[in-house]
């Protein structure tokens, strides 16, 4: 990792070969089986030295676009970002340190959100800060109830 090897050769083929080797027929299925793993962890599991987190995310976006499941992917990404910075769940008190962790998770979520959903993610972040969830809230996947309230699947 982080030596730039992930950009050599045909990495698109490489990702899908590894996904199939691990018994999944899509990158989404592989990722959903690891709902709290970060993008870097997903990439490392597919290839410690030759696959990058952004490549995984870009692939996930492509699949979600095709299957009209972008909102679900956005929720799934929220779970990953929250888990990375708040592994013990939503903090019970917002001191400077916790506030920064929450801010980092929400900012990371926004970064890894397709253009079409960025505004909704911003609003969802506002809502989470305005009406904080119960302390310890720790969504374990895109089907989390609170997340689905904040970001319901498109009606279409």
């Amino acid at each position: 990792m982080t030596d730039g090897r992930s950009w050599q050769g045909n990495w698109k083929t490489r990702i899908y070969e590894r996904v199939r080797e691990r018994g999944y027929d899509s990158l989404t299925a592989f990722a959903e089986a690891r709902p709290t793993a970060s993008l870097v962890e997903l990439a490392e599991e597919l290839g410690r030295d030759d696959i990058a987190g952004v490549q995984v995310f870009s692939g996930l976006v492509a699949e979600a676009e095709r299957n009209h499941q972008v909102t679900r992917l956005v929720r799934a990404q929220c779970v990953r970002e929250l888990h990375a910075y708040l592994p013990a769940g939503w903090p019970s008190e917002m001191g400077d340190e916790n506030r920064f962790k929450v801010a980092r998770a929400l900012a990371g979520w926004y970064s890894f959100t397709p253009e079409t959903h960025k505004e909704r993610v911003d609003r969802a972040g506002d809502a989470l800060l305005a009406n904080p969830p119960l302390a310890g809230w720790h969504p374990l996947g895109p089907d989390d109830e609170l997340l689905r309230t904040l970001l319901p699947d498109d009606q279409a």
Partner: protein, 453 residues
């Protein structure tokens, strides 16, 4: 037989079904090990950088007080003492930039200490490289220059027969030899520092010869005059000039000496025959610096050659014996890591890019990215395909609606993190966010200084 093979199958099947959590568990343990190893490496590198910095700091502190003291001594003992003040000033000016380089190193070590991410910490420590190499080589040169100042002072006091005009010509010549190297080192520009530090043995050899030439000239002048002065006084004079404490390396015995041929690694350090050249602790410090990519193998080897007095032959570090090179951390990985120009690996030719976007220089300055930490220090070398990919160019994307362009992504994330936390981000918080994203983009945490334009 049948049973065992069925067992095998059953194991396989269960591994496939319930294997995911187990595998993840194992994965996490590997991660924990990797993090611990990373932290260990960061701590070792930090210690080596601190040791090397302290060494140089001590020697510079000594010179900073000795040079002015000697200057006033020279002024006091000789009617023409003032004429030499510019040579003392030259020394004082070097102390200044050396101090600056060391302060930059100390800042980087402190920041490295306070970031959470061990890879970022090593990345920051590696950034001390040009400063540390410049300071190590510069301090060595300044030490030699002090030898010449002492020699001049002694000659003015003890050798009335050595012409003052001649001594001025000598000092001027030596300064001219030293100056280009000092200028290159003080630029702190990685390429120039590296080339100068690696070429130090030859320069030290020339300086050693100069020193002997001047001392010999003084001896001969005194000998000629010796016919008219008391023998005892004459002997004393010659003795004093030849016992000056000198930092310059001893000249090797005359006649061809094969560089490195007699150097070997023993339990106590690097030996030349039965004579200890550098201690095992010093070698260990250098090995860590070389392996972390803080200083280059050619520069470490140059230092060994100077200590061994093998300064006259224009030889490259490849001529050091394999055992010594390995003790200094030589490995294929290390050889590929450094920007040693054409000799280096392919990556050394790849163009440099700013990790912290230049268009937002001011934003970073406001959050403490100035001086040794300014955004030009945070450049990485990247191949074209990789660079295009992270800037969303080329045909890299799989999805359409997430461009993932680095500059926009990182600024969006930093600004949002700041807005959401309700206060200005600290430098370390910025670095932690950047480190995480560099890993996500598989950008090497190996910084070098780029152009500011």
């Amino acid at each position: 037989m049948l049973e065992s093979s069925r067992d095998g199958l059953a194991d396989d099947a269960s591994a496939r079904q319930s294997g995911t959590p187990e595998r993840r568990q194992r994965h996490r343990e590997n991660d924990a090990e990797a993090i611990a190893a990373g932290q260990q490496r960061a701590a070792e590198t930090r210690q080596a950088v601190t040791e090397a910095t302290d060494d140089v700091k001590d020697s510079i502190a000594g010179l900073a007080s000795d040079i002015p003291k000697l200057a006033s001594h020279t002024r006091a003992i000789h009617a023409h003492g003032d004429v030499f003040s510019r040579y003392f000033d030259f020394g004082v000016n070097q102390v200044r930039w050396l101090g600056g380089a060391l302060r930059g190193t100390t800042t980087l070590v402190e920041v490295a200490d306070s970031v959470d991410d061990p890879d970022m910490a090593v990345g920051l420590l590696r950034m001390t490289g040009p400063r540390l190499q410049a300071a190590m080589a510069g301090a060595m040169l300044l030490d030699s220059w002090f030898d010449f100042l002492q020699l001049a002072d002694a000659l003015l006091q003890q050798c009335p027969y050595y012409n003052v005009e001649q001594l001025l010509v000598d000092m001027e010549r030596v300064q001219k030899r030293l100056e280009p190297a000092m200028t290159a080192l003080s630029s702190l520009e990685p390429g120039r520092v590296e080339a100068t530090a690696a070429a130090m043995p030859e320069l030290m050899g020339q300086l050693t010869q100069e020193f002997h030439t001047i001392r010999e000239g003084a001896r001969m002048a005194t000998e000629r005059a010796g016919q008219v002065i008391a023998v005892a006084q004459f002997v004393e004079m010659v003795a004093l000039v030849s016992t000056l404490r000198v930092s310059l390396p001893r000249l090797p015995p005359s006649g061809p000496v094969l560089v490195g041929a007699r150097l070997s690694v023993g339990p106590g350090g690097v030996m030349a025959g039965s004579h200890l050249v550098v201690s095992a602790e010093w070698v260990e410090m250098m090995r860590r610096l070389v392996q972390a990519g803080v200083i280059s193998l050619p520069v470490a080897s140059a230092a060994v050659r100077i200590h061994a007095g093998q300064v006259l032959m224009a030889q490259s570090h490849r001529d050091l014996p394999k055992g010594v090179r390995e003790a200094l951390g030589d490995s294929p990985e290390v050889r590929g890591m450094h920007e040693t120009g054409k000799a280096g690996a392919g990556m050394s030719e790849a163009p440099k890019h700013h990790v912290l976007p230049r268009e937002h220089r001011e934003w970073f300055e406001q959050r403490g990215f100035t001086g040794a930490m300014d955004i030009d220090q945070f450049c990485v070398r990247m191949e074209k395909s990789h660079h295009e990919a992270i800037h969303g160019g080329g045909n890299w994307q799989l999805g359409r609606t997430w461009p993932g362009e680095w500059n926009r992504m990182i600024m969006d994330e930093l600004r949002r993190a700041e807005a959401r936390s309700g206060r200005m981000l600290t430098r370390n918080q910025v670095l932690d966010i950047v480190a995480t994203r560099m890993k996500t983009y598989d950008i090497p945490l190996r910084f070098s200084r780029g152009r500011s334009r």
